[in-house]
């Protein structure tokens, strides 16, 4: 079980679930959760290839750290936007924020 393919399969499942969540949810916070799933699957792939790909360095780990940093920044900004949306429109459903629609 402990081989490259099983990690890639887990990561693929997480990725598809994240895509599904991003497409079906209308609540902004729930969309953010889907994005976190996608980022986690990408990061898992980096670390898995680093272990099994015959590398003698740890480049995959460093990339994974950068992904985590960007996820933190993205979550902070996204939540600020969502709370602002709630203050202005009293909703967090992203399809109701359509006041610029012609």
């Amino acid at each position: 079980m402990d081989n490259l393919t099983s990690y890639l399969v887990i990561s693929g499942i997480l990725f598809s679930l994240g895509i599904f969540g991003v497409m079906t949810r209308r609540n902004g916070v729930a969309i953010l959760m889907g994005i976190e799933l996608i980022l986690n699957s990408a990061s898992l792939n980096f670390v898995a290839f680093n272990r099994f790909g015959g590398m003698h360095r740890l480049d995959g780990h460093v990339f994974s750290i950068f992904i985590i940093v960007l996820a933190a920044a993205e979550a902070a900004v996204a939540l600020a936007i969502i709370i602002n949306l709630f203050k202005n429109l009293e909703t967090v459903n992203v399809d109701q924020a359509d006041s610029m629609k012609g």
């Binding site: 670390v47 985590i68 920044a73």
Partner: protein
């Protein structure tokens, strides 16, 4: 023994990820996301990435998840934190994401991946610190700028408006 643990952790990760996506209560989704993130941290331990596993727990579980729960609490009344779904986009989204899933699985099982000799389990912190300050110095500095910009941007977005 470690096989059993691996399967258990993978099952917890995937089952709670399914719960994150399908639960109709946002608080339940957030709690399920906690188990998913912990499961991914456990998978990092299996991949000999001790530092990444610790970072995952500290940053994701301690930071991002708390932020998300704050977001849920601030934007929903506790009584009605149900999410409304419409069924037709849900079906289309299911078809599209299932197509993506099949595509990814096909690629995984038909490619012959280049696998070299396996890494041995060592402490990774020293090497990671050295690489961040030598090979990846520029991305490291850019990341600090990104964090600063995110901090200022979110403070600006969420402050009270004056006039």
């Amino acid at each position: 023994m470690s096989e059993v643990f691996f399967i258990l952790i993978a099952a917890i990760t995937i089952a709670s990820a399914i719960w994150v996506v399908f639960s109709s209560n946002l608080i339940y989704s957030a709690v399920a996301l906690l188990f998913t993130l912990f499961g991914v941290a456990g998978l990092y331990v299996f991949l000999y990435a001790d530092f990444i596993a610790a970072t995952q727990v500290v940053v994701y579980v301690g930071g991002i998840l708390v932020l998300i729960i704050f977001g849920v609490m601030l934007t929903n009344k506790i009584a009605d934190n149900r999410i409304s779904h419409s069924s037709r986009p849900r079906f289309m989204a299911g078809v599209i994401s299932f197509f993506i899933f099949v595509l990814v699985m096909t690629v995984i099982f038909t490619t012959t991946w280049h696998t070299g000799e396996e890494q041995i389990a060592t402490a990774t912190v020293n090497t990671i610190g050295e690489m961040i300050l030598t090979t990846y110095l520029l991305p490291f500095e850019v990341a600090s700028l990104v964090l600063l910009a995110a901090l200022m941007g979110s403070a600006l977005l969420s402050r009270k408006k004056h006039g």
